[in-house]
Symmetry: D2
Subunit: 100 residues, 4 copies
Amino acid sequence: MPGYTMNKDQYQARLRRIEGQVRGLQRMVDEDTYCIDVLTQIASVTKALQGVGMGLLDEHIRHCVKDAAEATSGREEAAVDEFDAKVEEVMSAVSRMLRT
Amino acid sequence: MPGYTMNKDQYQARLRRIEGQVRGLQRMVDEDTYCIDVLTQIASVTKALQGVGMGLLDEHIRHCVKDAAEATSGREEAAVDEFDAKVEEVMSAVSRMLRT
Amino acid sequence: MPGYTMNKDQYQARLRRIEGQVRGLQRMVDEDTYCIDVLTQIASVTKALQGVGMGLLDEHIRHCVKDAAEATSGREEAAVDEFDAKVEEVMSAVSRMLRT
Amino acid sequence: MPGYTMNKDQYQARLRRIEGQVRGLQRMVDEDTYCIDVLTQIASVTKALQGVGMGLLDEHIRHCVKDAAEATSGREEAAVDEFDAKVEEVMSAVSRMLRT
């Protein structure tokens, strides 16, 4: 089970709201809304999306990364590598968020 | 007319694709997809959204800001202030994109 | 003359302060400061640097882009391309700021 | 000891190079370098700084967060809160990096 399972409903609600915001952007473009106002709304949707990403990352570290740390605690080399692989995944995810 | 008017259909198509991606995110959460894979997809949607924002900003400068520059060219103080107000709007928009 | 010429002293002062902050980061690492505190300071230096970037971009649009818009106003195709080249430069610069 | 202790020399070298880059920016401004070229260099310094931040974050999770996970493994509530506090610190640090 992924770390966000317990809060699935909350994430679904946030993503549905974001879907509505994207439809709102289509309406704005359709109605020839002033460029800067569309941009303000795009920044707001981007922020909402990154908020969901931050929430998922938080739960991922809190559960999956913690489990890996505990599972490899005091173990031999191979098991430690599993934890390192988890950290690398997390860092790549943060990297992708920073660069977009 | 906003600067993006001539490419309205292209922007609508991109926003519809983004709406589809957000629905895809809901499906991923629904199916308990691994956190990191959801995050990768969120980074991709964020990038697509910012791409739309960059496109709108490009056309805004190319049309609205240019018009303001020409309209105030060689004019008295008050008119120059109109151009300055346009630049301030643009800078605030870039600022909002950078901070999210 | 670049757009920032009139405020050169102000930019030099800000960059010297940033240089001092980077030396402060070296001291923090030297004194084994807690990782999170170093990260907080890195975020602060990054913000200061981007602030300088935003200032330069503001003056660039206010002067160089405006000049190009005025110079090409009502001119033939070739001259308009000069303005378009300026806008493309600006958009690439914003892009580089967003992606780092 | 912070997580980056073993690689302290490497971080010092990177920060000294960044300090040199900031001095290079001062020279560029002093010599009236074209705005866009200064901006390109600012984006490059920002990227280098964020690279140091990402490295520190990586080692922080690999060591401090791992230690907290192991220390609180199978413990009572209060100890678990210590791990949660570590995760909150990490998330705030990522947040600050994303927003700058």
